[in-house]
């Protein structure tokens, strides 16, 4: 199982701030594909991914227990 976190427009598109999904093995790219298929209303093209609170590349592997956050373009300040 992995823990997914959604923010801003993606949180609204998903209708939830977080969820747990079953996960055996794969990369960040696989999870982004899963999310894009699951929440087609949201545009993932500009989304960055953080695993355990650090930005990672799409090739990074994701292991059970990881926290995966989808980070839309930020707009703080």
């Amino acid at each position: 199982m992995i823990h997914l976190h959604y923010f801003a427009g993606l949180k609204e598109a998903a209708g939830k701030a977080s969820e747990d999904i079953q996960w055996a093995d794969g990369t960040v790219e696989d999870i982004v594909k899963w999310a894009a298929d699951t929440y087609p209303a949201f545009d993932f093209s500009a989304v960055q991914v953080a695993v355990n609170e650090e930005y990672v590349l799409e090739t990074e592997s994701v292991k059970p227990g990881d926290h995966v956050a989808f980070i839309p373009p930020v707009s703080g300040g």
Binding site: F7, A8, G9, Y55, P72, V74, G76, G77
Partner: protein, 149 residues
């Protein structure tokens, strides 16, 4: 709040008090303190904002703010930094972000302070939603839009 221990890198729902951060970064080795307060603007590109809604990935945002603090201390030796961002519903003229930097001489305090806000707009997971009379929109990628300041 009074007796509460001051967190120099924080995301909070509480109103921000700039004086606390000036006090935090001030020390005998400092010859300058710059204080940046980002406030909620009413008009953006001809559209009137009623209020802003901010949200954050709080644990990661606080970690990234602290990393900016470490970078500043490396780039501008002798500086001391505090950065705090408010989230939740903010009214016009409310303070959304406070950056306080002290340094031995003023140039570094100005430069480091600007570096901090630029990094916040690039890497810190915080989002704002503009709430208008007739709608609302999450704002993204603002730092790359010319004329957005």
């Amino acid at each position: 709040m009074g007796a509460q221990l001051m967190k120099p890198f924080e995301v909070t729902t509480e109103p921000l008090e700039p004086a606390r951060y000036i006090e935090y970064v001030t020390h005998p080795g400092a010859g300058a303190v710059t204080l940046f307060a980002g406030t909620v603007r009413e008009w953006t590109n001809g559209k009137r904002t009623m209020y802003l809604e901010y949200e954050a990935y709080v644990p990661m945002a606080e970690k990234k703010l602290a990393e900016i603090g470490v970078e500043i201390k490396q780039k501008w030796p002798g500086s001391r930094v505090a950065i705090v961002h408010r989230i939740g519903a903010l009214s016009i003229s409310d303070i959304a972000v406070v950056i306080a930097v002290s340094s031995p001489h003023r140039k570094a305090a100005y430069e480091a302070n600007e570096y901090a806000i630029e990094q916040i707009k690039k890497v810190v997971p915080i989002w704002k939603k503009e709430m208008w009379e007739d709608g609302e929109e999450w704002i993204g990628d603002q730092s790359y839009k010319p004329g957005s300041e």
